[in-house]
Symmetry: C2
Amino acid sequence: MAQKNKLKYIILGLLGEHDLTGYDIAKAFTADIGEFWNANHSQIYPLLKRLETAGLITHQLQLSGEKLEKKVYSLTAAGQAQLSDWLHEPTTELTASKDEFVLKLYFVQNADDPMLQPMLTEQLRLHQAKLAHLQKQMTRKFSAVASKTDNYGHFLILQHAIEREQGYSDWLAQTLAQKTLRAAAARNHL
Amino acid sequence: MAQKNKLKYIILGLLGEHDLTGYDIAKAFTADIGEFWNANHSQIYPLLKRLETAGLITHQLQLSGEKLEKKVYSLTAAGQAQLSDWLHEPTTELTASKDEFVLKLYFVQNADDPMLQPMLTEQLRLHQAKLAHLQKQMTRKFSAVASKTDNYGHFLILQHAIEREQGYSDWLAQTLAQKTLRAAAARNHL
DNA sequence: TTTAATCATGTATATAATTACATGTTTTAA
DNA sequence: TTAAAACATGTAATTATATACATGATTAAA
């Protein structure tokens, strides 16, 4: 097993909110959920079939126009139960982050390595862009006070993502600043 | 392709520091690198063979005791070049975090959901434990001033990991505190 | 009106990664 | 001295996931 099939629970979780088509589910990964998970439609459609065979979801055909048949999936009682079980069971594994930049950094031994500065600068740019994007999301989705308690989980993770990107950017910026300081100190010692 | 084979570069990177056996490489994932990446020996051994076929690494047999043959791998010039290329090319993909707790939280709609408090409390405990572990690592490995510039990349990512866990814990603690406040306010309104 | 974008659903292929299976040696501690 | 822990290297089976292939309908814009 390459992972403990969390996509299954994402599908169950999404269907717990609304009935959705496979296409809708795939789209969710380019929107909200894409912020912290991803999946392709080629993974989603077969899994939907498996989940239906397992009795966790069902579908109804719905015509869109003259010919186009949509499969609108919904959660069964069994599916609802498994979703609830998953939500209630403790989450004990803290997954390794698998951040490629961090990985590269691990192999930079020397503090004076000339590639360090461009590496840090570029990552800072990327994470600041991500931060700005998340902040825009936050404003768009949760500017109204009421919405915060309504979609509370979503609000919380967006808040967390923003804090995380802020922290990431701070770390990079501070490292760059210290690099500059060290470089100046080195020049003075010549 | 399930991922852009970063394990390959981890192996090249590790061999760029010292010659190592497959066993040593596997062990590295239970130590330092395990903090932000993981891999099993069943993935490592076949990959070592592929990398050797591709001419990026070579090995020498070394006897340990009477019979036990170790394969000590080392980096070739071609391997060194590919490692350097990877390190120098920009890291543009910010990987989705795939944090199961965050995923669960996404599906908690209501701020007053009774499962929220135990969920948050348990995660806080886990992340505080992780934080304490990372801080111990930092002390053990980088208490000497000289070591910081020596293994600079490692120092930086450890520092980053600590800040990240601190931020994660803060977020959880703050969310719990606000929950308590809201509960008290609700009682007063009765 | 025609063309591009989006909707909609699949399959095939390849690779990545986890768990389990499998075997034997060497070292350390009881 | 013997038993457990750690060293050491593999393969098999399964599942996950990404990219590419494949097809067609509907809607919105040029």
